[in-house]
Every structure is written in structure tokens, then in C-alpha cells.
């Protein structure tokens, strides 16, 4: 009997062993906030997704370069696969270290007065770490959130930050970019590059359109996307290690 079961999309390479890595980092970290963060660990590799404590994170910035650009706002939405609880959500506007351009002000719908009253990243970074501790972070395009949080920790706590994430954009890439660019043959039959941006990805799951670039809205949008991806392509019992990176 021949079975053909393409199954759920697989990651390109073997996933890292995050519980071990975090335990190691806990031993190396100097700053107590980072020590506490690493000691909280993360769900075990074989933990079913439906049992994992998750937290959707979105960071809005003045640009894409974490060394040059600054954080403008952060949205955090702790959730479980079956429920996103808005009452637990956090949203924080911060005073950026670099000058906020007029474009990014309109882009993020944040005003100068919002920012003038806002705390500096330095005074919120520890709160953010506490919120993230012990949970599996869910982002759409991990380079931004990882890069900017790492940079913020370097600046304010003196050391970098590493943590596991489930990247909903990467999950989309596995589905739609698995074989790289569509071949000339596939293009012949009309296969086009699928956009894996947040809003476009959500549309594929019939999720509603939101106003983009508000950190909390985007964090919730990301959490909803993971719910949809899990129910569509995986199962609620899928091991977290198959999704994280």
C-alpha cells in the first residue's frame, strides 16, 4: 500500500533545544532581570501547543534596523490557543532614543505628546521581561522583535537577550515558500508569490482586516493568526518544538 500524506509543513532545519539553551543562559546571565527571565524557562519541547502559555508580542519601531532605529511602542497579549484574553493585554508607548520622524508618527498613530509623557525603554524593559517570562513568545517576523529586544537589553541591562519564538510569518513561509521561488513550470500554471505579510496571511484564514501598525492590535492579530494556523494546518496537540525557532 502506498501512502501519500504530505502532512503538516515541516521546519527547514532541526529546531533548537530551547529548554536546555535557556537553562545554560540562566547560568551565564549577570543581570538579575535576565537571570529571572531565563530561570522561568519555557514549555518543554513536547508540550502540546494547546497547553502552552503563549504571549503575542508586537513592537513598533522607527525603522527596521535595531542598531540605528528605536522602539516606539510594544503590545503584549498573553493567550492560550483556545482563548485570547484582552484583560491580560499590555500596551506601552515609550520615548524613543532616536528622533521620531513625522512619517513614523503618522504611521504608528502616536503623537508627540503621547511620547513626551511616555517612559523610556529603560524603565519598561524589566516589566516586559517579566511578562514574557515562562511563556512562549509569538510574533510575526521574528527579526524585528528579537532584534529590538536584544538591542534594548544590551543598552539598558548590559547583555543581549535570546528567547524562543513561534513566528507566524515563518509558518506561512513553510506553507507557501517551502520550495523557494515558484518554478517556471509552476509559474506557467499561474502560481504566484504568496504574500506572507500579516494582513495578507490573515486573509487566507478569513480573519478580519485590522488597522495595522498599532502594537497591541498587531499582537492580537498575530495571536489570532496562530489560532487559525494551528487549527488549519496542525492540531491543537502539535508539539511546540515543531513550531518554535
Amino acid at each position: 500500500m502506498i501512502r501519500f500524506n504530505p502532512g503538516a509543513p515541516q521546519p527547514a532545519s532541526a529546531p533548537p533545544d530551547w529548554p536546555r539553551q535557556l537553562a545554560q543562559l540562566a547560568g551565564q546571565a549577570q543581570h538579575p532581570a535576565l537571570q529571572a527571565f531565563y530561570q522561568a524557562g519555557c514549555p518543554a519541547a513536547d508540550c502540546p501547543l494547546e497547553d502552552a502559555p503563549l504571549i503575542a508580542l508586537d513592537i513598533e519601531t522607527t525603522g527596521l534596523n535595531s542598531r540605528r532605529d528605536a522602539i516606539v511602542s510594544l503590545g503584549l497579549a498573553p493567550f492560550r490557543l483556545n482563548r485570547i484574553r484582552c484583560s491580560d493585554a499590555l500596551y506601552q508607548v515609550v520615548k524613543p532614543t532616536s528622533e521620531l520622524s513625522e512619517e513614523s508618527i503618522t504611521f504608528h498613530r502616536i503623537t508627540h505628546s503621547d511620547i513626551n509623557q511616555a517612559p523610556r525603554v529603560a524603565s519598561v524593559i524589566e516589566t516586559v521581561l517579566e511578562a514574557l517570562a515562562g511563556k512562549l513568545v509569538v510574533v510575526h517576523y521574528r527579526a524585528i522583535e528579537r532584534g529590538f529586544l536584544d538591542q534594548a537589553c544590551r543598552q539598558h541591562l548590559g547583555e543581549g537577550l535570546q528567547f524562543p519564538v513561534i513566528d507566524t510569518m515563518e509558518l506561512e513561509a513553510r506553507l507557501h515558500r517551502g520550495d523557494g521561488e515558484p518554478s517556471w513550470f509552476q509559474r506557467l500554471f499561474g502560481k504566484r508569490h504568496q504574500s506572507i505579510r500579516l494582513a495578507d496571511s490573515r486573509l487566507r484564514y478569513n480573519l478580519p482586516l485590522y488597522q495595522a501598525h498599532h502594537a497591541l492590535t498587531d499582537a492580537i492579530a498575530t495571536a489570532e493568526l496562530l489560532q487559525a494556523q494551528a487549527l488549519t494546518h496542525y492540531s491543537p496537540q502539535v508539539s511546540v518544538s515543531r513550531l518554535w525557532s
Partner: protein, 637 residues
């Protein structure tokens, strides 16, 4: 700093019952929302499971079922469910399933209770079954003054009466002395027709036998050269049409419209208590549709009648804007339609001479029901006296029918596609043939044949010898109520057109010419509702033609529970009003009015009421199926 969940709050604020909540309350609701995603086809709630949250559809679509698995409702964006369970011991009463990928907001039960307690509109919405929501949607319209004021208020004095032996000269003197333009003629010797039903005090008053107006002196006395000692009995209008003092001014107006009369005695039971005339009513509504009707009678040609078309539409728009009731607008528009028909028949008789045998011009369908709007076909027929001889007379009646039919078409009443017009020889027949038609329809019912003849079960005389049409009405009411097979066939046809329960989805929408999603509110709403009411009314032996009056007739029997009838009444009123507003809007925007409503263009509250109305229709169809079960499943061979 309190977090604002803008996206969630803004969405809630667009849909009832949240749309009436203050912003700070909405902010609080948004903060307590929980969110979950359901793939198409997954169960959301199962019967009797515990429930502690209100469910709100953020996107997608959810089917709500009865316990027996029948579809109860289909919800889309902004719909709420689970409230019945929350209100009743926290057990799910209606299971729910996602029929599309769906994003749900959960609102905690504690918060739900608070909202119910603190916000009346919220409580009203969730506690109400469809009925009272619909009622609110209907009652919101400011009822026109005409609908509320009693005729009694228009009476300025007791009527001046004279005995029927009075001479015309004495009568004219009385009118001059009393400065009135009309008289009530009484017969002092006549016994009350139904003495045991009339209180003794009233029996002391003489019985009214006729009325006389200024105009009668001109047309019936002077023009005819009658002697001054002619008794008023010879020239009065005998057995005048009357209104009751408790009737509304609107009903009085309708009566004048319908009968083309300008004077109307007002009676308390049978005792005349006053006389009102056209100008009394026009004082109340200066741009009354009565004006239009009276100008119809002044027109001397089809072309002149045709020139009134903009006025007809303007009258319609004005009534819609004044938020007149559907009954009022339907009656007024039908009155105008009758006016056109009557004037065209007068013009035809002027042209072709008096009719060789008596006839009645019969209106069918919406005009007979007094439910005409602006987009309407002409459905009519001729009932001829039994002395009719086709060889001798049919040429005349064919010409008459053609003149009227063409005239009506010119005035905006398009030809009936089904050929139900007096121009069709089949529908231009003597009374005895009509009796046979009706008897055959009723006694040998075939659903397919009845589909085409259904329109004949709404019938009314427009002009001529109305007694002939009344006889047919009588025959129908009499035979139909005793014939289960006929009622069963009619009910089967009444179930052919179903309401669009999940009307937000493409598969229940018709595509119009421009491929917009539309619902034909006539085909999917008012028509099946009217069909269903007709079946019940005929089962009750009612002779009423108007759907609202039919509902009254049904309620006089015990055929249906009163609240079910009320629901039907509100559903019909609401669906009709939406149709009316839609058509009025089209006229104002110089688009050709139709029945195709785009639900996407209506407000969430209106959509909700529409769904409620469709739900009422659906339930009523279930009742009908239940009432005539064995016949409803019979299949044609």
C-alpha cells in the same frame, strides 16, 4: 494607563445592542473580551452544555439550531448568541456551529448581567425574542397624525336631518338657514333593522336612509328640471357609506378615496352624529393623496392622466417620508390605482357608448388587497352580466378592456406578464363562467394550476356592478373554508418561496444586473407572507382582502395564537416599510424603483430587524406545513 482596545471597541459600537452603549462602557466591554477562532464546520455550542459568556460574531458566519436540528438563525458579523442560555440557567438552548471560518468575541456572563441591569436598550435587545425587536423597529416610525386622530374630532356640529318626505325646496331652505352644504335624510317611520342589538335610547332616533349635498340640487334637481315639490327621497343618495366615530381620520380618508365620495356621514353605531367632507380632512393633510385622486377625475384623456405620473410618485415619496404606515401607503396607492382605472373606464364609456350589459371591472392581486406600491403590474378582469352574448357584446368589452389596459400601461401600471387582464378573453366572462372558474379551482385543486390562479383569490370590484364581484368573494370565502384539499394546495404554494434566513451569504442572494448582492423583498418577504395570510384567512371563511384585515379576521377565530398573529403583523409591516423606503429612495435619486434591497447598505439595526422579520415568516411557514401536513408532501405526478 487604561489600555484601549480600539479595534474591538469600534467594532462593537457598530452593532446592536452595543451601538447604544456609552463609549466608556464600550471601552470596558472591549477590555474584557476574549477571542477565539473556529474553522468552518466546527461546533461552537452543543445543546445543554454550560454557558457563561455572551458570544459575538466578529467575522465569519454561525448557524444557530433548534434542538431538533432545524436551522433557527444564521448569524454574521455583529450577531450575538448564547444570551438565551445565559438568561435561562446557564444552559445552551440553541446549539451553534461555524459555517465559515469564524472569529468570536466572548463577553463574560458577569459583565453581561451588569449590562442588562444598567442599560435598558441592551436588556430589551437580548431579552426580546424577535417580536418585540421588530415591534420597536416598526413603532419607531412617527405615526402620522391621520392614523391617530378619531373622526369624531372633525365633527363640528350634529348633522342637520330632514324626513324623507320633505320637498327639495324645504330642504334647500333648511340648508340655507343652518348654513350647511349637506343633509342627512331620515325615515321617521322605519324600524331599526336589528332592534335587539340597538340600545333603547338610540332607537328613539330616526334611521338614516340617505344624504343630500349642494351638488345634488344642481345635478339632480335643476339640471333635470324637477319640480320644487319633489320629495328629497327621490334625489338623495340612498344608503350612504358611513364611518364610525371611533374610526381614524385615515380610515375616513380611505373610504372617500375608495368610493370617490366627498361627504361622509359619521355614525355612532347607526345613529348619525355628524357629517364630514373632503375639506375637513384636507385641513389635516394639505397634500393629501385625495387631492391627487380628485384631480384624476378631472382629466379628459389618457395623455392628461399620464401627466399625473410624477404626482403619483411624489405622493408616494411624501407618505414614505412622513412615515405613514404600510397599510396607509398601500391603501392610498391602491386608491390612486383605482382612481385611474375608474377614470379610464369613464373615458372608455364616453368613447364607445354605454355598456350593452351590466359589468364589473375587477381588480386582482395587490390592488384588490389595498397593498399596491409604485412598482406594480395591472391585474384585472371583467365580470359581465349573465345576459352577455359574445357575438353581440364582446366586441364592445374587448375595446373597453383594451382602452383601459393601454391607458393603465401609459400611466405606469405595466401589462401583466401572465396575461391576467380583461383584454384576455378568458378573463372577460359572464358571472356564471366566473362562478364555474372559482368552483373548479376550489373543488378540484391542483397546486400547479392554483399557482397561476392564486391572484384571483384577492379580488375586488373597482367599477360597475360591484354586487357581481361580491358574489364571487362570497363564493370563495364560503367554499374555501370547507375544502381542506384546496387549502392544502394553496398552503403548498405558499411554501414555495422561502425567506432568506442567512441573507448575508451569497448563496441566498439573487444577483442583480450589476452583480450586487440583493434580496428581492417582495419575492422573499412580503409575497410569501401575504400568501400565508391568505390561506389562514380563507380557512376562517373571511372575505377580507387586505392582509392586515385578514389578520384581524383570523384573530377573531382561534386558529392561531394572538402573539403569533402579532408577530406576522409586525413582520409584514416592517418588510413592507423597508420596501417602501427603498422605492421612495430610488424615486428621489431618479433611479427606477424596484424590490431589490441590498442588505449591505442597510444599518446593522435594520438588518437585525430584517432578519427577525424573515425569522417570523419562516416560523409561520413551519406552522402552515404543520397545519396542512399530508397535503404539503403530495408530489405532482
Amino acid at each position: 494607563m487604561q489600555i484601549e482596545l480600539i479595534e474591538i471597541r469600534d467594532h462593537l459600537s457598530r452593532f446592536p445592542p452595543f451601538d447604544e452603549l456609552p463609549e466608556e462602557v464600550l471601552n470596558d466591554v472591549a477590555r474584557q473580551v476574549e477571542i477565539a477562532y473556529f474553522k468552518a464546520g466546527t461546533e461552537i455550542l452543543t445543546f445543554n452544555q454550560e454557558i457563561h459568556e455572551l458570544h459575538y460574531v466578529r467575522s465569519g458566519a454561525v448557524d444557530i439550531f433548534r434542538r431538533n436540528g432545524d436551522l433557527y438563525n444564521r448569524l454574521t458579523e455583529g450577531g450575538v448568541f448564547g444570551h438565551f442560555g445565559l438568561l435561562r440557567h446557564n444552559r445552551v438552548r440553541f446549539p451553534a456551529r461555524a459555517i465559515e471560518d469564524t472569529l468570536l468575541y466572548y463577553i463574560p456572563g458577569v459583565l453581561f448581567d451588569q449590562l442588562c441591569e444598567q442599560h435598558e436598550t441592551f436588556a430589551d435587545f437580548v431579552e426580546a425574542e424577535g417580536q418585540s425587536r421588530l415591534k420597536a423597529a416598526v413603532d419607531n416610525g412617527r405615526a402620522s397624525e391621520l392614523m391617530k386622530i378619531k373622526v369624531r374630532k372633525l365633527i363640528s356640529r350634529l348633522p342637520v336631518t330632514v324626513p324623507l318626505t320633505t320637498t327639495v325646496q324645504q330642504a334647500a331652505r333648511v340648508m340655507t338657514e343652518q348654513s350647511v352644504s349637506s343633509l342627512v335624510v331620515v325615515d321617521p317611520h322605519m324600524a331599526w333593522p336589528d332592534p335587539e342589538r340597538v340600545p333603547v335610547a338610540e332607537q328613539q332616533h330616526a334611521v338614516m336612509v340617505g344624504i343630500m349635498t349642494d351638488r345634488d340640487f344642481r345635478t339632480r334637481v335643476l339640471a333635470e328640471g324637477l319640480p320644487l315639490d319633489t320629495p328629497v327621497a327621490d334625489i338623495m343618495s340612498p344608503n350612504p357609506i358611513t364611518v364610525q366615530g371611533d374610526d381614524t381620520v385615515f380610515e375616513a380618508m380611505l373610504s372617500m378615496l375608495r368610493n370617490n365620495i366627498h361627504h361622509l356621514p359619521v355614525v355612532q353605531r347607526r345613529r348619525p352624529i355628524g357629517l364630514i367632507n373632503l375639506s375637513d380632512i384636507i385641513k389635516y393633510e394639505s397634500q393629501s393623496s385625495l387631492y391627487l385622486v380628485s384631480s384624476i377625475y378631472n382629466k379628459q384623456s389618457v395623455a392628461e392622466l399620464q401627466s399625473l405620473l410624477p404626482d403619483v410618485r411624489a405622493t408616494f415619496v411624501r407618505m414614505a417620508r412622513d412615515e405613514a404606515s404600510a397599510h396607509m401607503i398601500g391603501s392610498a396607492m391602491s386608491g390612486i390605482g383605482r382612481g385611474f382605472s375608474q377614470r379610464l373606464l369613464e373615458l372608455a364609456e364616453d368613447q364607445f357608448g354605454p355598456p350593452p350589459v351590466p359589468y364589473s371591472f375587477m381588480a386582482l392581486g395587490s390592488m384588490a388587497r389595498d397593498e399596491q406600491l409604485v412598482v406594480t403590474d395591472q391585474d384585472n378582469a371583467l365580470v359581465l352580466d349573465d345576459s352577455f352574448d359574445p357575438k353581440l357584446h364582446d366586441d364592445y368589452f374587448f375595446k373597453l378592456a383594451t382602452f383601459v389596459s393601454d391607458g393603465l400601461a401609459a400611466c405606469g401600471y405595466t401589462y401583466c406578464k401572465g396575461g391576467i387582464m380583461a383584454t384576455n378573453p378568458k378573463w372577460r366572462q359572464p358571472l356564471k363562467v366566473w362562478r364555474k372558474y372559482f368552483t373548479d379551482w376550489i373543488e378540484n385543486p391542483k397546486p400547479e394550476a392554483l399557482l397561476n390562479s392564486c391572484i384571483f383569490f384577492d379580488l375586488d370590484s373597482v367599477y360597475g356592478e360591484s354586487a357581481m364581484v361580491e358574489e364571487l368573494q362570497e363564493l370563495l370565502a364560503e367554499k374555501a373554508s370547507r375544502n381542506e384539499a384546496f387549502l392544502g394546495s394553496l398552503s403548498r404554494n405558499a411554501l414555495n418561496r422561502t425567506p432568506p434566513l442567512g441573507f448575508f451569504r451569497t448563496f441566498v442572494m439573487e444577483k442583480d444586473g450589476e452583480h450586487k448582492n440583493v434580496i428581492n423583498l417582495k419575492r422573499r418577504g412580503t409575497a410569501p407572507l401575504t400568501d400565508l395570510i391568505r390561506v389562514h384567512a380563507l380557512a376562517c371563511g373571511s372575505r377580507a382582502q387586505n392582509s392586515f384585515e385578514r389578520l384581524d379576521a383570523i384573530s377573531a377565530t382561534k386558529l392561531m395564537p394572538p402573539d403569533a398573529l402579532e408577530r406576522l403583523r409586525y413582520a409584514l409591516e416592517f418588510l413592507s416599510l423597508v420596501r417602501i423606503r427603498h422605492q421612495a429612495l430610488a424615486i428621489e435619486e431618479s433611479i427606477e424603483p424596484d424590490n431589490d434591497v441590498e442588505p449591505e447598505n442597510s444599518s446593522p439595526a435594520e438588518r437585525q430587524a430584517l432578519k427577525d422579520a424573515f425569522q417570523v415568516l419562516s416560523n409561520a411557514q413551519k406552522f402552515l406545513r404543520f397545519r396542512y401536513p399530508h397535503l404539503a408532501v403530495t408530489r405532482p405526478l
